[in-house]
């Protein structure tokens, strides 16, 4: 699903975020990306979601070389992945329902079909009863679950998460991770960046550890 070959990323500021990074994630696999802040976790996620481009090396997504994909194609590739953020990044002026429906309306789904998918996704994260609320009326854990519903509503084959439990207490964090595990069980490839080692250790998934832009450990 994801294949990095000798990928390096140097920012305009001169900072070398990734050095010769090579790893791959098989289709249907779930893995954690860990490391101290500044180790390159965010850069890996930015490269995968095509926010940044590598300065050197090759990056395959779904067996397709996207290293030098034209920017016109980027949106269509992004529709095939779901991204979950630490700070949810929900639109505060829209309802929970509309937030989750966003990727579908962008992809141009007919409203009826979209509504079905949105309700299914909200049901999955246990928030069906709150579809008419604004994100601000929800708790932190609920907001994060809305973010996950939005990431999963289009049934992407790849789910990326950047510190999804960063602001949550341990119980809620475990709930969120269980949700990811459930998606993985139905075949979704999942990559979660997290420094919550205590939580990760309890879950028996592959772990990729970054230090100074290089892979130092993996199971």
């Amino acid at each position: 699903m994801i294949q990095f070959s000798n990928v390096s990323k140097r920012y305009a500021s001169g900072q070398e975020a990734l050095k010769n990074l090579s790893f791959s994630l098989e289709r249907g696999e779930m893995a954690f990306l860990t490391g101290h802040s500044g180790a390159g976790k965010s850069t890996v996620l930015k490269l995968i979601s095509l926010i940044e481009r590598p300065t050197a090396g090759q990056f395959l997504l779904s067996d397709k070389d996207v290293t030098r994909l034209s920017s016109r194609q980027v949106p269509y590739v992004r529709r095939q992945m779901g991204v979950v953020f630490q700070n949810h990044r929900l639109l505060s002026d829209r309802t929970v329902f509309d937030n989750v429906a966003l990727p579908l309306s962008i992809a141009g789904y007919p409203p009826k079909e979209a509504a079905k998918k949105v309700r299914a996704a909200l049901d999955k994260v246990g928030l069906l009863s709150k579809e008419k609320m604004r994100p601000i009326m929800l708790s932190g854990g609920e907001q994060q679950r809305v973010g996950i519903a939005r990431a999963m509503v289009n049934k992407p084959s790849l789910l990326l998460a950047d510190e999804p439990t960063g602001n949550l207490d341990p119980d809620l964090s475990a709930d969120i991770m269980n949700l990811f595990a459930e998606f993985n069980r139905v075949g979704v490839t999942v990559l979660v960046a997290s420094h919550d080692l205590a939580l990760i250790a309890k879950l028996r998934y592959r772990m990729l550890t970054l230090r100074d832009g290089q892979l130092v450990g993996g199971r």
């Binding site: 289709r27 965010s42 996620l45 930015k46 979601s49 926010i51 997504l61 779904s62 067996d63 397709k64 016109r72 194609q73 949106p75 269509y76 590739v77 992004r78 529709r79 095939q80 991204v83 953020f85 990044r89 929900l90 639109l91 966003l102 990727p103 309306s105 962008i106 992809a107 141009g108 789904y109 007919p110 939005r150 084959s157 950047d162």
Partner: protein
């Protein structure tokens, strides 16, 4: 699985893409309008500024059109007044009058005796009683010549006047055209000035719309980042802002129309009065239907162009961050 998925990734079905494109336009247009209405005060101020900027050149254009109309009316009245020398006998005057009547150039030849001229002058000038004290009529007899349609061009009129001026019995052949020509060249000048002003003000409208849209984009930065992250194309992100610009342009065209109508209505009474004093039936020409449509279209196009300028520059700059 691998093949199907990657095919789906890179080539989405163009027909469904086109269909969703068509469906989204009216919705986006409506949402953009709603958002403008959502901030009524700011929108109102922008619209008034834009409306004034559009109404100025349009109003001046109408002013020019009216002047042109007046000058055309007067051109239809082009005439040559021929005054005889004091010592010319009545017989000579009559024979010359017959000569003029025989010529094809003149549609109408009217003889005004010295007495008639004095009567008319008394009536129109208001010096009636003062003139009674004169023991001699100071006014000469005159002939008013009205050239036919084919002889009304300034050059031909001037040649005629010169020819008559050279006659022995004639003191002066006055062409009442001089100032029409001056007016015409003033209008050419005015037309240029209005065109230049129109260009500047159109540029101003473009910049104002562009800047308004830039601020709107800035206000939606977070939203733009998010929808780009969930797969929105630049076109999708652009669309609402383009529509905002189009609405702003169209509505300010409407504001300009109202301003012009209001001003014309306000001027109409005094203009009639003034025209009445000159014994004219002149009425102000307002905006015709097609001119009104042109005004709205102009607004729309300026709004579209202004928002394109802003959107092209600023939306590409906003890239999502994790």
């Amino acid at each position: 699985m691998a093949k199907r998925s990657s095919a789906k990734t890179f080539k989405s079905n163009w027909r469904s893409r086109f269909r969703s494109y068509l469906r989204s336009h009216p919705e986006v247009a409506r949402d953009s309008l709603k958002e403008l209405i959502g901030t009524p005060f700011a929108t109102f101020m922008t619209l008034v500024v834009l409306g004034i900027a559009i109404s100025l050149p349009a109003g001046l254009q109408i002013f020019l059109k009216n002047i042109e109309h007046i000058s055309q009316q007067w051109q239809g009245n082009a005439q040559i007044s021929v005054f005889f020398k004091g010592d010319v006998s009545e017989q000579q005057q009559l024979s010359l009058l017959h000569d003029f009547q025989a010529r094809v150039e003149f549609d109408d030849v009217a003889f005004i005796t010295a007495e008639q001229a004095l009567e008319e002058f008394k009536e129109l000038s208001g010096f009636g009683e003062a003139l009674d004290y004169l023991d001699q009529n100071p006014l000469p007899a005159a002939v008013i010549l009205k050239p036919g349609q084919a002889y009304r061009s300034p050059e031909k009129l001037e040649a005629l006047a010169q020819e008559i001026n050279a006659m022995n019995a004639v003191d002066l052949a006055q062409l009442d055209m001089q100032w029409v020509r001056r007016l015409q060249s003033m209008m050419i000048l005015g037309g240029r000035a209005v065109t230049a002003l129109s260009l500047f003000l159109s540029l101003a409208v473009l910049m104002i719309v562009g800047n308004t849209i830039r601020l709107t984009i800035e206000n939606h930065r977070e939203e733009i980042e998010i929808i780009k992250l969930v797969g929105a194309t630049d076109g999708f992100v652009r669309r609402p802002f383009i529509y905002s610009g189009v609405w702003l342009g169209l509505l300010s065209g409407g504001v300009a129309w109202v301003l012009i109508r209001f001003t014309l209505g306000w001027l109409d009474g005094p203009v009639r009065q003034l025209a009445g004093l000159y014994g004219s039936q002149f009425e102000l020409i307002g905006l015709s239907f097609s001119e009104s449509m042109q005004l709205l279209l102009l607004g729309l196009l300026l709004g579209l162009a202004g928002s394109w300028l802003a959107v092209g520059r600023h939306i590409r700059d906003i890239e999502p961050q994790i």
